[in-house]
């Protein structure tokens, strides 16, 4: 590889950009906005994923027992639960305790329970599972297993709403991918046309280059580099804005469903690199298309 020629290519690419400043400014601006949206979307998912993983780490489960359950059946259930890998019984809540808890929770509205004579609340075992990954705890299977035990009325676990949430996230991801795809096409279109314009403004020079024996690559390379610079610059601007926005936003504690949520994290390095590579590829592809079309016309 000949460094001199590469310096030459870069010089020409930069001079192309500078001599068509406005077009490049508009182009880079538009691409940056697209990439910013893309980055924001990714940031959102990275965080949601992080939260879900953390919530999913510890699983808590309530096993509600039938009314009037025999003592030995209850003991049997307790020993089965203790035998589950990673499971730990954090408490047994008797019918009386459940009622007392409810009254305490209702506070001033405890009068609501006045008309009820018999206690409708079931007794329950409260279980937490630790080190879920290690024990390969599958909440759904455990629920099904416990549900069919004699003396068990119902099993509920903290993850049930999370699973519904996961479906929603999946839909959002799909939507994001489609929108992202459309944006990529739009970005490609912008880059291709910007490069086509600069090629057009240099057509006399290109003709003469070819006449004095320049290879196709020699003529094409500055335009490819021009596209690459557009892509990388846009990627950089988008990530910079995203980071600034993130810095502002993460100063506040975020609440979801009224619960304070853990820290927001920025994109991990891998993702940053990926966005860079992606924007570089967009730039290169766009200029490849432009250059290819132009040279087909040259024949």
């Amino acid at each position: 590889m000949n460094i001199r020629i590469w310096i030459y290519y870069f010089k020409h690419a930069v001079s192309n950009i500078l001599s068509n400043q406005w077009i490049h400014l508009i182009s880079i601006g538009t691409i940056s906005i697209s990439l910013l949206l893309f980055g924001a979307f990714t940031l959102f998912f990275v965080n949601v994923n992080t939260w879900m993983v953390e919530w999913g780490q510890s699983l808590s489960m309530s096993v509600y027992l039938d009314d009037g359950i025999q003592r030995d059946v209850k003991d049997e259930i307790e020993s089965i639960i203790k035998g589950l890998p990673g499971a730990e019984i954090t408490g047994y809540i008797s019918k009386e305790k459940a009622e007392a808890d409810l009254i305490a929770a209702l506070g001033a509205q405890a009068g609501l329970l006045d008309g009820i004579t018999s206690n409708p609340l079931p007794a329950s075992f409260e279980i937490t599972f630790k080190d879920r990954k290690e024990h390969q705890v599958d909440a759904k299977r455990i629920k099904v297993f416990l549900d069919q035990l004699e003396g068990v009325d119902e099993v509920q676990y903290s993850e049930q709403w999370l699973e519904r949430f996961e479906d929603l996230i999946y839909l959002l991801k799909l939507g994001g991918l489609i929108v992202g795809g459309l944006f990529s096409v739009a970005v490609l279109f912008i880059i291709t046309n910007t490069i086509k314009l600069t090629i057009y403004s240099r057509r006399d020079e290109i003709e003469i280059f070819k006449l004095v024996g320049a290879t196709d690559w020699f003529v094409k390379m500055p335009f490819l580099i021009e596209g690459a610079i557009q892509g990388i610059l846009s990627g950089f601007i988008a990530l910079l804005i995203l980071f600034l926005a993130y810095s502002l936003f993460s100063l506040k504690t975020v609440h979801i469903f009224g619960l304070p949520v853990m820290d927001i994290v920025f994109l991990p390095y891998g993702y940053i690199l990926l966005i860079f590579i992606f924007s570089l590829l967009l730039g290169l592809t766009g200029s490849f298309i432009a250059v290819g079309r132009f040279f087909r016309l040259l024949g």
Binding site: I5, Y8, D204, L211, D216
Partner: protein, 216 residues
Amino acid sequence: MIQIFHVAKKFGTKAALEDINLKFQKGEFVFITGPSGAGKTTLLRLIFGAERPTEGQILINGINLNRINRSRLDPLRRKIGFIFQDFKLLPRKTVSQNVALALEVAGERPSIIRKKTRQVLRAVGLAKKEQAYPLQLSGGEQQRVAIARAIINDPLILLADEPTGNLDPDITREILLLFRTINLKGTTVVIATHSKELLKNTDQRIILLKGGKIVS
């Protein structure tokens, strides 16, 4: 050495050249002449590889232009200087930038480019106009810029299309002298011209074209 065998060139149905057979030796100095529309420009463009013949073969130093692909044509072109009728200079580049182009595309070192550009501009008598722009120059000066660009690579072959087109007689003589000097260094020179004036009292080989055919 240039060898042309049974070459014909048609544009659509119209034949610009028919059954051309020619051989130019290394270091030869040849005029191609004939009335306007005779096919002189077309013949030069074929030798330059800018156009492909409809029939026949053209060999440059044994390389068949029909057979080589684009990527080998480019380096070959650096060995052929072409002086276009309309000069094809870039108006927004200076004289020395225009001339240097031919070396830049070959990836030559900047110090060498500077040195050779200065040398060749001196040789064509434009040392003082290095920093001028083409449109600030007279026709004869522009012609010499075009010549400088064509010879900076030390080409084996120099093709010139109507190089004295609209130049007055004194300048025409100067330009011809320049071609002779280049020729003396071993470059094959082929000049297309419709001017009879230019061919007066010359003892060089003259090829007369008419209606796309060689007459003599």
